[in-house]
């Protein structure tokens, strides 16, 4: 068990260190990292957490800016699962239609939750990155209900990284990473 956790953790750290500095990474790698992260969280919550995860097996040659999805998933665990006493649950689905990726992330939350800053820094950063890196190519929509938090995100991804774009983007990414 401990060995698995360490392997999972080191995979995540390796991704953050080595892939995190790239402008784009294969979507398959980003999703694998999400699986690794959820594997770790699953151990923490055990059977208490009800989780449905539906990620595409075939991501074709799609690329995505790295670590875009992780803060969103972390958010679900932080505000959803960990603050819920009776029945934490998360339903995450990523689907692809051609080069359009759609993320639907739904989680329960505590009804009498501590006064939350309307949306945390994690989500704010994702929004900023989307605006800079996918201008006019994304939709991002949060519905925050009393008992449930719903996040819908759609992005038009690139099939293969364009070298020119990569060069233009990386200072932006670097800057953002300094801020984070």
């Amino acid at each position: 068990m401990a060995a698995k956790l360490i392997t999972g953790l080191s995979d995540i750290l390796r991704f953050i260190l080595y892939e995190g500095s790239n402008a784009v990474v294969p979507l398959s790698k980003e999703l694998q990292m999400i699986r690794d992260y959820i594997d770790l969280e699953k151990v923490r919550y055990g059977n208490r957490l009800e989780l449905h995860l539906d990620l595409p097996d075939d991501t074709e040659d799609l690329y995505i800016t790295p670590l875009l999805l992780l803060p969103l998933v972390e958010n679900s665990f932080k505000h959803g699962a960990s603050s819920m006493l009776d029945q934490p649950w998360i339903n995450m689905r990523v689907s692809l239609h051609n080069n359009r990726m759609q993320l639907k992330l739904v989680n329960g939350k505590a009804s009498i939750s501590q006064p939350l800053k309307s949306s945390g820094i994690g989500i704010q950063n994702v929004k900023t990155r989307l605006a800079l890196l996918y201008p006019g190519k994304h939709e991002f929509n949060i519905t925050n209900e009393e008992e449930v938090f719903i996040l819908n995100m759609k992005i038009e991804l690139e099939k293969k990284p364009k070298m020119a774009v990569v060069k233009n983007i990386s200072p932006v990414v670097e800057n953002l990473q300094k801020q984070v």
Binding site: R35, I38, I150
Partner: protein, 242 residues
């Protein structure tokens, strides 16, 4: 038996590989070296089939060591750094294991080296299970009630509440129909009316104004008609071609 040699300057790293080798009956460990110089000697003294070679080592690193060998055995690189991988491919190594090495991954490398099919590689523990059904929870009075998306027939709104109809139950919960719509996958559910969402799978018949789900007639609102008809026509086209 496949004769193996471990070359790694870190004792702990050698421990792991030694243990893994001992787990596989066809592998035999014939020696361990803490550096490349020792490895030269070991290779001269005995026949080696498979070399587990660390890359970053003092004095001579694994890459340079391998380049210096005239008839190298099969080599599996073991390293904590993934950026050496490219050079590894140029040197024609069998596989490249990044530390910490999971046993499953080690097995895979061995299979790759000798094209074994009898050594079963334990599959990676996959937590996602697509057969596990997609679900949501709704609060009903004091209880949280789990509802499988596949069970939902349709949803009707009444002011601040929605009624969720399944074959077994009618669930009433305080939530807006729009936010329920946001929760559901859009390829499986469709808004047919200001007050109705329908499971596409459960539709048994339809006209321009009405559709039928579980023997209940559900209205199609003017605003939603185009969208609904597009979806239904597309679906029936799809069914015809199959």
């Amino acid at each position: 038996m496949i004769r193996c040699l471990i070359v790694d300057d870190e004792p702990l790293a050698r421990d792991v590989i030694r243990r893994y080798i001992s787990e596989i009956p066809t592998l035999e460990l014939v020696g361990e070296c803490a550096n490349a110089i020792q490895a030269f000697t070991a290779l001269q003294q005995q026949a080696i089939d498979l070399l587990f070679l660390d890359i970053r080592m003092p004095q001579l690193n694994g890459n340079d060591f391998l380049k210096a060998l005239k008839n190298p055995p099969k080599v599996i690189f073991t390293t904590a750094f993934s950026e050496y991988a490219l050079e590894g491919y140029e040197l024609d190594v069998v596989d490249y294991l990044v530390k910490p090495i999971p046993f499953e991954r080690f097995l895979k490398a061995i299979n790759k080296a000798f094209h074994f099919s009898d050594v079963k590689s334990a599959a990676r523990p996959v937590i996602e299970d697509k057969r596990s059904e997609s679900f949501v929870y709704f609060r009903v009075d004091r209880k949280m009630v789990k509802v499988m998306l596949g069970d939902i027939l349709y949803i009707e709104s009444m002011k601040d509440y929605v009624k969720v109809f399944t074959p077994a139950a009618k669930i009433v919960t305080k939530q807006s129909i729009s936010s329920v719509e946001e929760m559901l996958p859009e390829q499986d559910f469709i808004r047919t009316h200001r007050s109705f969402i329908v499971s596409v799978q459960k539709i048994t018949s339809y006209t321009q104004e009405l559709l039928e789900v579980d023997k209940t007639e559900i209205p199609i609102g003017k605003l939603y008609r185009n969208e609904v008809m597009k979806m239904l026509d597309h679906r029936s086209d799809h069914l015809k071609t199959h």
